[in-house]
């Protein structure tokens, strides 16, 4: 069971933001979405999250049409890390992270929530900010808070400190984590830390991860598959090794892109203007 868009279209006042998009986020796998600005990447993520309703085609998560599933049931199996979330009220960072536990209010305990929140705060490297007021943080710090919030949500009732049975093995419902440009505003080391966390969720906890990225080399390093979106349509998708080659990327991004051998092994993709 996956999170699947089948010929999904999204039209607003005659403008086709998405056209016939068919793409699948599979459990245990990181899918990167790549594409120029305005290609419809965020729109696709929102449609797949059930935030916007596809105007044609369908979105199915674990075999169910997302537009027919109650928000709470969706929230228990899918977490979203937004591009920018504003909050003017001075919640403490720890409390913002704890909001990610809201979908499990009825099944969880305070101690368990606490444990997950502490764990996520360590992973997102925001220990030192835990008691600060959220609105006073910098953009990158806020991003990390939302990563932690999405993590405590996607963990569900799994205990990160033991290796017991995972939720999806118990109820047969796969979990998904959708990240909208998660690296925007982060410094290099935190970008890598975040991508590593996302990849580990996929490979160790069998979560289906979808993330919008801009950096080609991060795609090659952290994703399993990649979908390239241009003007609302998928122009290429497949395993990273097949798609991430200079010819295809150059034509999609209308900018010459070259592969240069990396002395440390493999190659890096570089773009130089003009």
């Amino acid at each position: 069971m996956s999170l699947v868009a089948n010929k999904a279209g999204f039209v607003v006042r005659g403008r086709h933001l998405l056209r016939d998009v068919t793409v699948a986020v599979k459990p245990g796998e990181v899918l990167a979405v790549l594409g120029p600005n305005g290609a419809g990447k965020s729109t696709l993520l929102r449609v797949m999250a059930g935030e916007y309703q596809a105007t044609s085609g369908t979105i199915h998560q674990n075999g169910q049409d997302v537009s027919q599933v109650a928000a709470l049931a969706l929230a228990q199996t899918r977490a979203v890390m937004p591009q920018a979330a504003s909050m003017t009220f001075p919640f403490a960072v720890r409390d913002v992270v704890a909001l990610g536990r809201a979908p499990f209010r009825r099944n969880s305990t305070r101690q368990f929530d606490q444990k997950l929140v502490d764990h996520a705060i360590r992973l997102a490297d925001i220990d030192h900010l835990a008691d600060r007021a959220y609105p006073a943080l910098s953009g990158g710090e806020k991003q990390r808070v939302h990563l932690a919030r999405a993590l405590v949500q996607v963990w569900g009732m799994n205990n990160p400190e033991t290796t017991g049975r995972l939720d999806h093995e118990r109820d047969g419902k796969e979990r998904f984590l959708l990240l909208d440009e998660p690296t925007a505003g982060l410094d290099v080391s935190h970008q890598h830390a975040l991508l590593a966390v996302a990849r580990r969720e996929a490979h160790q906890n069998n979560v289906g991860v979808m993330m919008i990225l801009h950096d080609f080399n991060q795609v090659t390093a952290y994703a399993d598959r990649v979908a390239v979106l241009s003007a609302g349509e998928i122009v290429a998708q497949g395993p990273v090794s097949d798609i991430m080659e200079p010819g295809l990327l150059s034509s999609v991004f209308k900018s010459p892109i070259r592969a240069i051998d990396d002395p440390a092994g493999g190659f890096v993709l570089v773009s130089h203007g003009g």
């Binding site: 109650a70 928000a71 937004p82 979330a85 909050m87 003017t88 001075p90 913002v96 909001l99 809201a102």
Partner: protein
């Protein structure tokens, strides 16, 4: 070790919030007792306490029968009205601030109160024309129902106008509310211009607010307020998620449009009923939640009940002031909350401004 410290600190925090609720309740009781002892007829505080003790069966002997009647039939009903209305306004303000994700939202600012007053004023001035021969039968209920209708229609209007592609933009919603506020006040002005002398007196009441009440005809409105308050109180957790943004709230399992619809209708009912009973009383809905957040922090599970209690305290206190400051007359309560609340709110804003400085 660190985890122990963390959980200890959190325990302390929760305790602090619970304690602040208890403390607020105690203050409310104190203010109520003091307000019972305040007014034109001098009744000593000790007598008030003896009287209450007798009423709830703690003491056999009562006080002077005349003083007892003043407390029972004049002051107590009035204070109960103040508690319910103040609580409703404080809570409605807190809910709206979360709903619009804007700390300056308030039923007064987005025009719900003004529209309710417009309904009431329209009924006072032209009720006998609109209702014709039904006017005598509907009589005293006409005005509260019209106030109520005004609040509900204004809220519906704001919601419909601010919807676009199935979503509502909170900022646009707030601005539309401001426009509606202006129109409602203009409408009130038109009817004031048309009113005769007798009608003018009751119009002043709608614009400045009064807790004197209209006797038993207030009962339905007060019951509606209590029900609305009970419902709004239960929205603490979903409204916390709402503060993150509407999309985020949905991602976290809130049926956003449902919540918005129910919460706006419930606030309209509460505010409409409040205006029906007492006219426009400003600033309580704005100031009470701000004051409360200074103590409890922004968590709506505590802010909502605390705002209700704080609103009740503020209005009961303001009413006591209104009753004695210009003896033997009384000042309209809306003037008191405006005179005290306005500068107070300015002070809060200055404090906030300083806090936001880097």
């Amino acid at each position: 070790m660190k985890q122990v410290a963390t959980s200890l600190r959190q325990f302390g925090q929760i305790n602090r919030r619970v304690w602040s609720l208890v403390l607020l309740l105690l203050v409310l009781v104190l203010v109520t007792v003091m307000s019972l002892g305040t007014g034109g007829a001098h009744i000593a505080l000790g007598d008030v306490i003896v009287h209450i003790a007798q009423r709830i069966g703690l003491s056999g002997s009562g006080i002077d029968a005349f003083d007892g009647r003043i407390l029972d039939t004049l002051r107590l009903p009035r204070i109960l009205r103040a508690i319910v209305i103040g609580g409703g306004l404080g809570l409605a303000g807190a809910v709206m601030q979360s709903l619009f994700r804007n700390p300056i939202a308030d039923p007064g600012i987005i025009g719900v109160s003004a529209s309710a007053a417009f309904g009431a004023v329209a009924m006072i001035v032209s009720g006998h024309i609109i209702l014709g021969s039904f006017y005598p039968t509907i009589g005293p209920y006409g005005v509260p129902v019209a106030a109520f209708a005004g609040a509900v229609i204004a809220t519906a209007f704001i919601r419909i106008l601010s919807r676009q592609d199935g979503q509502t933009d909170a900022a646009i919603m707030l601005l539309i509310g401001v426009a509606i506020n202006a129109m409602a006040f203009a409408g009130v002005g038109v009817f004031t211009y048309m009113a005769d002398d007798a009608q003018l007196r009751s119009l002043t009441f709608w614009q400045m607010g009064a807790l004197a009440g209209n006797g038993p005809t207030d009962t339905p409105a007060l019951i509606i307020m209590v029900l609305g308050i009970a419902y709004l109180m239960s929205l603490g957790s979903p409204l916390n998620l709402f503060l993150l943004g509407e999309a985020e709230a949905r991602h976290l399992g809130v049926e956003v449009e449902h919540l918005k619809r129910r919460a706006t209708v419930a606030t309209a009912l509460v505010v409409g009923a409040a205006v029906a009973v007492s006219g426009i009383i400003g600033f309580v809905g704005l100031v009470a939640p701000h004051l409360v957040r200074l103590v409890t922090g922004p968590d709506n599970r505590y802010v909502l009940p605390a705002s209700a209690i704080c609103g009740a305290i503020m209005l009961t206190g303001a009413d006591a002031v209104a009753r004695i400051i210009v003896l033997p007359a009384e000042l309209p309560i809306g003037l008191v909350t405006g005179i005290i609340g306005g500068p107070f709110f300015l002070g809060l804003l200055m404090r906030e401004k300083k806090r936001r400085r880097l």
